[in-house]
């Protein structure tokens, strides 16, 4: 009991658009039972679209580009959620969840706000709407929101505040290219985010208009664990959860990841566990003073870069070891992974 009493509370971080890649987490499929079951449940809930989604997820050469909204969004949601379930299956009881972009919907689902099958329907409704939206893109800039402000115009807006000097812009391709050029000429370093849509910009507003009715019809429950929202930079409230427009507007509204992270770490130190493809959020949160000082810590479940299936499994095994070393006795040693350890959780 002494180890558990001293363990840092766990916060799960769920990444969003930009972190997707071909065969993300596919090395765990068929190897980690809890993860596999959660993925299969998602594909089953997706109905006729489930088969093609699964095929493209596992394919070396997907029929539809993995960066396309119809692939990136549902697969990120499913992988984030299934990895979260995997960690819960180890007996880890998170104290908080924080998702980036589509990751917030996965976080809300893990917290029990939406039933997984209902959430699958909500995600599919969202992508059907978004796939009809005009093309656009996203641009990461090594600059603060104040530094980029003079360059914004028209539909090119701040789509995400990732860190004090990492701001993501979003907008239609042509105007975004012009802003990109102007920023580079002024000496700023910019990089395109893998996205074929202008997420978190007004470009998607018309496409999202009808989504509120779908969210209004979905059954919602209070979260079992606080979900720190990257839209309000505060834990989800009852009124956020009950407001269909709050959910419907998430693809249009800016992601305030860093302010939400500051809010989370202001409640105390955490073991931050990234449950999603890549290590993008892990890299960002390492810049936080609490992590720099070592009072909070970071664990990533998956490798930083895409690799062979064995690399996914090795990364999960290493993460389980680190979570165990951090004082969570319920995280089983490798070889026993995926088996729910009720006895450990109860003790």
């Amino acid at each position: 009991m002494t180890g558990a009493a001293q363990a840092l509370p766990v916060a799960l971080l769920l990444p969003g658009q930009g972190s997707q890649h071909r065969r993300m987490a596919a090395g765990l499929y068929g190897h980690e039972p809890v993860f596999t079951e959660a993925m299969d449940e998602f594909f089953d809930a997706a109905g006729p679209e489930g088969g093609p989604l699964r095929d493209d997820w596992l394919a070396e050469r997907p029929a539809t580009d993995i960066d396309h909204v119809t692939r990136s969004q549902p697969l990120l949601f499913a992988v984030d959620h299934a990895l979260g379930r995997l960690v819960l299956g180890w007996g880890v009881r998170p104290a908080a969840l924080l998702g980036h972009s589509i990751g917030e919907l996965a976080a809300a689902t893990l917290a029990g706000v939406f039933a997984p099958r209902d959430a699958a329907g909500l995600v599919l409704d969202r992508i059907r709407r978004l796939s009809a939206a005009p093309p656009g893109g996203m641009l990461a800039v090594a600059a603060s929101t104040a530094e980029v402000a003079p360059y914004l115009r028209g539909d090119v807006v701040v789509g995400a505040v990732n860190a004090p000097r990492q701001t993501v812009l979003a907008g239609p391709d042509g105007p975004l290219d012009e802003v990109d050029r102007a920023l580079r000429e002024a000496g700023f370093v910019c990089r395109r985010v893998p996205s074929l849509s202008a997420f978190h910009s007004p470009v998607l507003e018309p496409a999202c208009r009808g989504a509120a009715a779908v969210f209004a019809a979905a059954r919602k429950n209070p979260p079992a664990v606080p979900v720190h929202s990257a839209y309000t930079a505060a834990p989800l409230t009852e009124s956020d959860i009950g407001d269909p427009a709050f959910w419907a507007r998430q693809p249009v509204a800016p992601v305030l990841f860093w302010p939400a992270l500051e809010g989370l770490l202001a409640t105390g130190d955490h073991l931050l566990v990234e449950v999603g493809p890549g290590q993008g959020l892990s890299q960002l949160v390492r810049r936080h003073p609490a992590v720099r000082r070592g009072s909070s810590a970071v664990v990533s479940l998956l490798p930083a870069r895409p690799g062979p299936p064995e690399a996914d499994r090795a990364a999960v095994a290493a993460a389980a070891e680190r979570i165990t070393a951090a004082g969570w006795p319920a995280a089983p040693a490798s070889g026993d992974r995926g088996r729910p350890s009720r006895r450990a959780a109860a003790g």
Binding site: Q166, R191, Q279, R287
Partner: protein, 91 residues
């Protein structure tokens, strides 16, 4: 001519990331940039600042191939050494 140091690089990296606090990190020079919280965007900006500050051009493959602060400093110092004789000849 003084060499470029790891301390100078960390000062630049903190400016690139917008970090206000300087925290001494154990063995940080040998750790990968990613594990220090610096992604390729931050590294690209650091390269740009170092190039402008020292008036040198670093090899294009620096972003992909230089993984640690110690390796970055070595590349910068190699470039400074390579360009140094030219400066002396001119002076």
């Amino acid at each position: 001519m003084s060499a470029f140091t790891v301390e100078e690089l960390f000062q630049i990296m903190r400016e690139c990331a917008g970090e206000e606090e300087a925290v001494d990190l154990a063995d940080a020079a040998e750790q990968e940039f990613a594990l220090l919280g610096y992604d390729s965007l931050a590294l690209m900006e650091a390269i740009s600042r170092v190039e402008r500050g020292l008036g040198i051009a670093l090899p294009e493959e620096t972003v992909g191939e230089v993984l640690t602060p110690a390796a970055f400093v070595d590349v910068v110092n190699a470039e400074l050494a390579r360009s140094a004789p030219v400066v002396e000849a001119a002076g």
